[in-house]
Amino acid sequence: MEDTEKKPKRKIIPNKTKMPEQPPQERVKNFKEVPLGYSEDQAVEEATRCIQCKNRPCIEGCPVEIDIPDFIALIAERKFVEAIRKMKEKNALPAVCGRVCPQEVQCESKCTLGKKNEPVAIGRLERFIADWERENKMVQVPPLPAPRGKKVAVVGSGPAGLTVAADLAKLGFGVTIFEALHKAGGVLVYGIPEFRLPKAIVQAEVDYVKSLGAELVTNAVIGNLYTIPELLNNGFDAVFIGIGAGGPMFMDIPGENLSGVYSANEFLTRSNLMKAYLFPEYDTPIKRSRNVAVVGGGNVAMDSARTAIRLGADEVYLVYRRSREEMPARAEEAHHAEEEGLIFKFLTNPIRIIGDEKGNVKGMECLRMELGEPDASGRRRPIAVKGSEFTIDIDALIMSLGTNANPLLPASTPGLALNKWGYIVANEETGETNLKGVFAGGDIVTGGATVILAMGAGRKAARAIEKYLS
């Protein structure tokens, strides 16, 4: 044919390749992952949608600056090994990020294709290539440089700590990670449920960081077992603090300490870290409640609600004082939760929790709200409607109102500068604190944020620690 000499004009495919997922009626009965991931062919099909534009805006949208178009081009060419190696140059935890990053406000929001069509499904491709590597047992330790003879203590094994540890180990530093719990992973193991992030995947990512030479010490509560000054006086040349924003917030309304009232942290830690959803095979129990209310509108609230649904509740309500538009949860999470039967009670605010004679929660009194003028957060301020009190019958209540700084470590570190909320003051670009050799990043600096932002802070701190120790 006459046209064969010419390069065919690339055809734009407007929509993302669909990713298969467990149907709602099935998945509410199990804790298995909801989206099932791309097959090789689906991944190649999706990767081919990338137009490989010149200015590569997606990279700017990524807090750890993954070379996105390059790894996608390699997938399109079916060079999966090369694709994952390219990915791991910048991201030690792609199987996690591919699942829990809010790509819609990061890389994918910048995608050139996304201006007129759906953006390239960067997150799904990231997940695919990470899963492909693990499932095909292609995980490889990159060549490591000669040891530099300097040691760094990393406090906390969540996303920030794992990133710092991986980056510094790859640079030849001796790294020891101290984790307070019995399992590494931080929020990835205690907070995010199995159906969003299988724990075997977190374990594989932790194992990868260990394979780079990082040592892991679990059951080590820094502040109690060792203090930061003790670490610096006992062989560590620098310390990175990535302990997350651990403390749960409550509303300070009557009845909050009744039995059956949980913080989201407790509810999720029971279910995820302690595997209470498998009780009595696992020893930690969790109540199989009938009518559950979750207060809050973030991703953690969605995780709590969807966990309660899977534990067999008849009705699960999400009580949020503003409207759907203001809800901080990812649209995808809210959508999944709704498919699973979550009942939204927007513009509703609890004022009192009611208990029975044994001290168990039996109801919650709420007020209806309406939206007024925007407040400091830019969202319209909810105002109570007078006389609108009503009661919801519940036998469990989960408070998912965000977290605050856990004072345990800061209180044992003399002179460490904190802001008025108790978070550590650290340089945004380097993670440096006011103490020599002490760096910090992630939620303990920023307050509750995302996995990828904590990883971004870890990446920057690793660079600064390398500079500090050179």
């Binding site: 059951n219 077992l225 651990g246 300490n257 407790e266 302690m274 009780f279 009595p280 020893d283 168990n360």
Partner: protein, 270 residues
Amino acid sequence: MFKIVEKKVLGQDIKLFRIEAPAISKKAKPGMFVIVKIGEKGERIPLTINDFDPQKGTVTIVFQEVGKTTMMLGRLNEGDVIEDLVGPLGKPTEIENFGKVVCIGGGVGTAVIYPVTRGLFQAGNQVIGIVGARNKDLLIFEEEMKAFCHRLIITTDDGSKGHHGLVTDVLKQILAEEKIDRVIAIGPTIMMKFVAKTTEPFGVPTIVSLNPIMIDATGMCGVCRVNVGNETKFACVHGPEFDGHKVDFDLLMGRLNQYKEEEKIALTTL
């Protein structure tokens, strides 16, 4: 991994483990606790430290077999290891020379009041000890307590040894006869509640060590929250010791009973 270097049976279902844990032993102080977890599928339970020896690098715990975890723990022997041991956690007991103090241990709580008693004795206090148990077979640490008390009174519910009755009977009498500067009570929640009730009319500062359900025990989950003076406190980081006159004991007992049914189910899987 933490090796059990010594196991002793102290009484009916009450066992003592001395465990190799050098780092914890160096930081432990009276009143602090550890989290114990056995096996991949185990739960995390708090146990207040009975003793510690930084030279030998060991910490000692004493526990009563009341549920699945403590029963499984009791089956371990010298040389076995405990997978996870976390600590020392919580705030240590405030130890100074208060003057004349009464240290009350109830049941297995006596193992925990013991290092507190020793500390207060060594700080120069006049120490009166009261040790109570349901019966004489459940009495523990009597000799050890004797060594650090100027006076020690034993009580048993069934009268099988010492005063026939409750620790509060003896306490009331002491408070009526002598000026006491501080009372510290560690034992069953109901005992601590009534100790606090007994001392309140006398205006004697009273410290109790609370034992709510815990998971992470570092201030993260909030399951151990208690009402103290109408404020919510986390026993794991703000406690475990609190002003007994301000604690809402009924709320605590309700929260402690939350998983009674599940505890029974767990026992069937032993």
